[in-house]
C-alpha cells in the first residue's frame, strides 16, 4: 500500500534544496508513478500559468537523470584535464554546474524534438545521443570525433541536435528556422533554441521572437542564465534582467535551473504549450557554472570564490537529485555509489579510446567543403602547387 506524507512548505529551510512531497510508488519502475512536489519558488510566470509543482515521474527516469548528470560532470572534468594537458586546443567551454538543464530537458522531450544551442554544448551533445568517446575525440581533434575532428568543441551535431554554434546569438534564428521546418512538414514536435544571458540582448534574438510569434512556430526559446556573459554580470549587460519577460508578446517562465525536476517539468509544459498550437514560449533557466567562461578564464576576477562555493554547496544539481533519490528510497546509497563508479569507468575508458584515435587523414582537409559529388573541380592550397583535384 502506499503512504502519503505532506510537510508544510513553511517548514522547509531557506537554504534547503529538497522540498517536501508526496510519494507513492507502484510495482513497475517505468511507470510515472513517483510524485514529487517542487519548491514553491521553482517557477515564476509571465502571461501564462506556471506548470504544476507536482512532478509525475518514473523511478527509471530519476535514476537515468542521476546517471546522466554524473556522467556529464565526469566528462567535463575529463575535458578540463585534457585541456590543461594541452591535448585540447583553442576554445573549450564547460557546463560544470549546469547539468540539470541538458538532462532535465532530455527527459521531457522526444527524438522528434530538436535542440540548438551555442558553444557550451558538450552536455547537450551527449544527451542528444552522442557517445562520450565521439565528444572527447572531437575535442582532441581526432578521426573518431563526432565531426571528424574538423569542428572542435563548438561544432558538434547529432540528427536532432543542431550544435554547437560559435557566433553568439546566431543560433536563435537558426532554431526558429528549424521550428519553421517542423511546422512546414507537419511534425508535431518542437525546437528548443538556447542562448545565454549574454546573448539575450542580440538583435537577431528579437527578430527570431517576432517571426516565431507572427507565424506561430513550435519554437521554445530558452535563456540559460548563468549570471555572467563571459566576465560581465547580467546586470551590467542587460537593462532588463528578467529574461523570461523579454519576449514581450511571448509568454515566459522563469525556472530554477539547478533543479533537474523543475527543468523537466517546465520543458514538458513548454513542449505541450507550443505543440498544441499556442505559438512560442520563453523559458529562463536560472543556472550557474562553477568554471570560468572557458578554459582560458579562471572565473574569479569578476565574481567571488564565496559565491562559487556557496552555489556548489547549496545548489548543486547532482547533490540535489541525490538527496531526493535517497530520501524517497528510489535507490540505495550503494546503488548510487555504483553509478558514480560506473560513470568514472565509462569516462576514463572513453578518454583512452579518444586518445587512441588518430588524427584525421590529410585527405579530409579537402572534403565536405561542398556536398559530395556536387562540388567544385579543384581546391587551392597555400600555393599554386598545392592544388587538389576532386
Amino acid at each position: 500500500m502506499f503512504s502519503t506524507q505532506k510537510i508544510s512548505l513553511a517548514k522547509v529551510a531557506a537554504k534547503a534544496f529538497i522540498t517536501p512531497l508526496t510519494v507513492r510508488t507502484f510495482a513497475s519502475s517505468a511507470a510515472r508513478n513517483v510524485s514529487i512536489n517542487l519548491h514553491k519558488g521553482s517557477f515564476e510566470s509571465y502571461n501564462c500559468d506556471a506548470p504544476s509543482l507536482d512532478v509525475e515521474i518514473s523511478k527509471d527516469e530519476l535514476v537515468r537523470m542521476y546517471k546522466s548528470m554524473v556522467t556529464m560532470r565526469r566528462m567535463e572534468m575529463a575535458s578540463d584535464g585534457l585541456y590543461k594537458a594541452k591535448l585540447i586546443r583553442g576554445f573549450c567551454h564547460l557546463c560544470t554546474g549546469q547539468e540539470a538543464v541538458a538532462v532535465g530537458m532530455e527527459t521531457a522531450l522526444t527524438a522528434e524534438d530538436n535542440i540548438i544551442t551555442a558553444y557550451r554544448c558538450h552536455g547537450f551533445t551527449y544527451m542528444r545521443g552522442a557517445s562520450i568517446t565521439s565528444i572527447l575525440a572531437e575535442l582532441l581533434g581526432r578521426k573518431a570525433g563526432i565531426s571528424g575532428g574538423k569542428g572542435g568543441s563548438m561544432h558538434m551535431f547529432t540528427p536532432n541536435f543542431f550544435g554547437g554554434n560559435g557566433i553568439v546569438g546566431a543560433q536563435v534564428p537558426l532554431g526558429a528556422g528549424i521550428a519553421f521546418a517542423q511546422k512546414y512538414k507537419g511534425h508535431k514536435a518542437a525546437t528548443f533554441s538556447l542562448y545565454g544571458d549574454g546573448a539575450s540582448n542580440q538583435g537577431q534574438v528579437f527578430e527570431a521572437y517576432n517571426m516565431a510569434k507572427l507565424w506561430e512556430l513550435p519554437a521554445v526559446f530558452v535563456c540559460e542564465n548563468n549570471r555572467y556573459g563571459m566576465g560581465t554580470a547580467a546586470n551590467r549587460s542587460s537593462a532588463n534582467t528578467s529574461y523570461f519577460k523579454r519576449g514581450d508578446y511571448i509568454p515566459g517562465l522563469r525556472v530554477n535551473g539547478m533543479d533537474v525536476l523543475a527543468v523537466h517539468q517546465a520543458v514538458a509544459y513548454a513542449k505541450e504549450w507550443t505543440v498544441s498550437g499556442k505559438g512560442p514560449l520563453l523559458l529562463e533557466m536560472e543556472t550557474y557554472r562553477y568554471g570560468g567562461h572557458s578554459m582560458s578564464d579562471p572565473g574569479t576576477t569578476y565574481r567571488t570564490r564565496e559565491e562559487i562555493q556557496h552555489m556548489r554547496s547549496n545548489n548543486d544539481p547532482i547533490t540535489g537529485l541525490k538527496q531526493r533519490l535517497l530520501e524517497f528510497n528510489i535507490i540505495t546509497e550503494d546503488e548510487m555509489k555504483a553509478i558514480d563508479k560506473a560513470a568514472r569507468v565509462e569516462v576514463d575508458q572513453a578518454v583512452e579510446e579518444a586518445k587512441a584515435s588518430g588524427e584525421p587523414d590529410i585527405s579530409e582537409f579537402w572534403t565536405q567543403i561542398y556536398q559530395k559529388g556536387s562540388g567544385v573541380p579543384t581546391a587551392r592550397g597555400r600555393e599554386p602547387e598545392e592544388f587538389h583535384h576532386y
Binding site: 530538436n114 540548438i116 570525433g145 563526432i146 565531426s147 571528424g148 575532428g149 574538423k150 569542428g151 561544432h155 551535431f157 547529432t158 543542431f162 550544435g163 554554434n165 560559435g166 557566433i167 546566431a170 536563435v172 534564428p173 537558426l174 532554431g175 526558429a176 528556422g177 528549424i178 519553421f180 521546418a181 517542423q182 512546414y184 512538414k185 538583435g203 537577431q204 528579437f206 527578430e207 527570431a208 517576432n210 517571426m211 507572427l214 507565424w215 572534403t367 565536405q368 567543403i369 561542398y370 556536398q371 559530395k372 556536387s374 562540388g375 567544385v376 573541380p377 579543384t378 581546391a379 599554386p384
Partner: protein
C-alpha cells in the same frame, strides 16, 4: 526603333551612344540586348520572367522549395520577380518577412539544416550585409565543420551591383566578397537564359548558392531557345559561356557588363580594329579558369570587365590566376582590368556615369591593350 536611332547605334559615335545611355539607360540596354549573340529561338523573355519561371517550376517540382523575403508575396515582389507566386502556391510557400534580414536569413538557413529548400530573397544584396554572418558562418561553413553531418541546400538571391541613381548604399557589387568563401557557390547571370538556368541549378544544388542578379537587367528581353524553355533546363554552375568567338583579344565579363563587352566587341569589329572573344563568366565561384586560359592561349590578350570595385575584385582574381597558369606564357600584353571606380557611388547622373564601366570604356581599354607588345 527608328532607322536613325539604329544608325546611331551602329555608328561609332561615342557621344551619341553616351547621350542615349545617359538619358535612358534602360532603353540603351535594350538596344544592346537586341544586338547580342544569343541562342537562336523564336520566343523572347525578360530576365524577370525567366527568374519567375525558374521559381515557379522549381516550386512545382519540389514541395520542399519555398520562397521568403520582403514583399515577395502580396506585393508580388519589390521588382516583381515573384509575381503571381503567392496566388499560385499560397502563404505556406511564399512568405512575406518583416524587415529583419539577420533574423529571416538565419531562419531560412535553419530551415535548410532541417531539410527544407529555401529561396531567401534579399531586396538588394546591399541589405544582406546585415545577414552576412548567417550566409558565411552558418550556411557556408557548417557542412565542413560538422564533418559532413549537416546540410544546407539554400539559395540566396536578389539584385546586386549598380541600379540607376540609387547612390552609394544601394549600388555595391558583392561578387568578390561572396566569391572568396569556400563552401558557397556564387553565380551571376547576364541574360534570360542565364537567369533561368542558373537559378534552377542553384535551387537544385544541395550546397548554399548565392545568385547575384541585376536590377537593370530585369526588364530586358532576350530570345530563349527551345531548350531554355523546358522545365528541366539547368545551366551547369562553374561553366562560363563564350558569347562571341574572336581571335585577337579575350574580354571576360559577368552580369550586366557582358552586354557592354559584346557591344564593344561589335564596335571594334565594325571599325576593323580587332576580333574580340567575349566570355560570359556566369559563375563567380567556382570560376571557370579553364575556359579563360583556353581563350587566352588563342588570343594572347585579356581584358576583364566587372561592375564591382577594383581592389581585391573578380578581375584581380582572374589576373592572379592567369599569371599563375600556363596562360602567362601566351600573353602578349599584361592583363587589364576594367572595373567600377574606387569611389562610393555618387547620385548626380554625370558623376554616376564615371562610377561604372560601359561600352566606350571597354573599347578604349581593348584598343590600348592591342597596341601593347611585350618588350616594345
Amino acid at each position: 526603333m527608328s532607322p536613325m536611332l539604329k544608325k546611331a547605334i551602329t555608328v561609332s559615335i561615342p557621344s551619341v551612344r553616351q547621350a542615349l545611355a545617359r538619358s535612358n539607360p534602360v532603353l540603351a540596354n535594350a538596344l544592346l540586348a537586341k544586338r547580342t549573340y544569343n541562342s537562336k529561338g523564336g520566343v523572347e523573355m525578360t530576365v524577370r520572367d525567366a527568374l519567375n519561371s525558374a521559381l515557379e517550376e522549381e516550386m512545382t517540382a519540389d514541395e520542399k522549395v519555398y520562397l521568403l523575403g520582403e514583399e515577395v508575396g502580396q506585393y508580388n515582389g519589390a521588382y516583381k520577380v515573384s509575381k503571381g507566386l503567392l496566388d499560385k502556391f499560397g502563404p505556406k510557400r511564399v512568405i512575406d518577412t518583416p524587415i529583419t534580414e539577420s533574423g529571416f536569413c538565419g531562419l531560412a538557413v535553419g530551415s535548410a539544416f532541417a531539410g527544407l529548400k529555401p529561396v531567401c530573397e534579399f531586396m538588394t544584396w546591399n541589405f544582406a550585409m546585415q545577414a552576412i554572418d548567417q550566409i558565411v558562418n552558418s550556411a557556408a561553413k557548417t557542412h565542413y565543420m560538422s564533418g559532413g553531418n549537416v546540410n544546407c541546400p539554400i539559395t540566396f538571391r536578389g539584385p546586386n551591383g549598380a541600379a540607376a541613381g540609387v547612390a552609394a548604399q544601394h549600388s555595391q557589387c558583392f561578387a568578390a566578397w561572396y566569391g572568396s568563401v569556400p563552401g558557397l557557390k556564387v553565380v551571376s547571370p547576364w541574360n534570360s537564359e542565364d537567369a533561368k538556368g542558373l537559378l534552377k541549378a542553384a535551387i537544385r544544388d544541395p550546397n548554399p548558392v548565392v545568385v547575384l542578379e541585376n536590377e537593370l537587367m530585369y526588364g530586358i528581353s532576350f530570345p530563349m531557345s527551345e531548350a531554355a524553355l523546358s522545365k528541366d533546363f539547368v545551366i551547369e554552375i562553374g561553366k562560363a559561356k563564350i558569347e562571341k568567338e574572336g581571335t585577337d583579344v579575350t574580354i571576360v565579363a559577368h552580369s550586366r557588363s557582358v552586354g557592354f563587352a559584346l557591344e564593344a566587341a561589335m564596335l571594334l569589329e565594325k571599325e576593323g580594329i580587332c576580333s574580340a572573344e567575349v566570355i560570359n563568366l556566369r559563375s563567380i565561384r567556382p570560376l571557370d579558369t579553364e575556359t579563360i586560359i583556353k581563350s587566352v592561349k588563342k588570343t594572347n590578350r585579356l581584358v576583364t570587365v566587372e561592375g564591382g570595385w577594383p581592389q581585391y575584385g573578380v578581375g584581380s582574381e582572374i589576373c592572379a590566376q592567369i599569371m599563375e597558369s600556363e596562360a602567362f606564357d601566351h600573353l602578349d600584353a599584361p592583363v587589364v582590368r576594367v572595373t567600377g571606380a574606387d569611389v562610393p557611388t555618387p547620385y548626380a547622373q554625370n558623376l554616376e556615369a564615371f562610377a561604372f564601366p560601359d561600352t566606350d570604356v571597354i573599347a578604349r581599354v581593348v584598343k590600348r591593350t592591342l597596341n601593347k607588345k611585350i618588350g616594345a
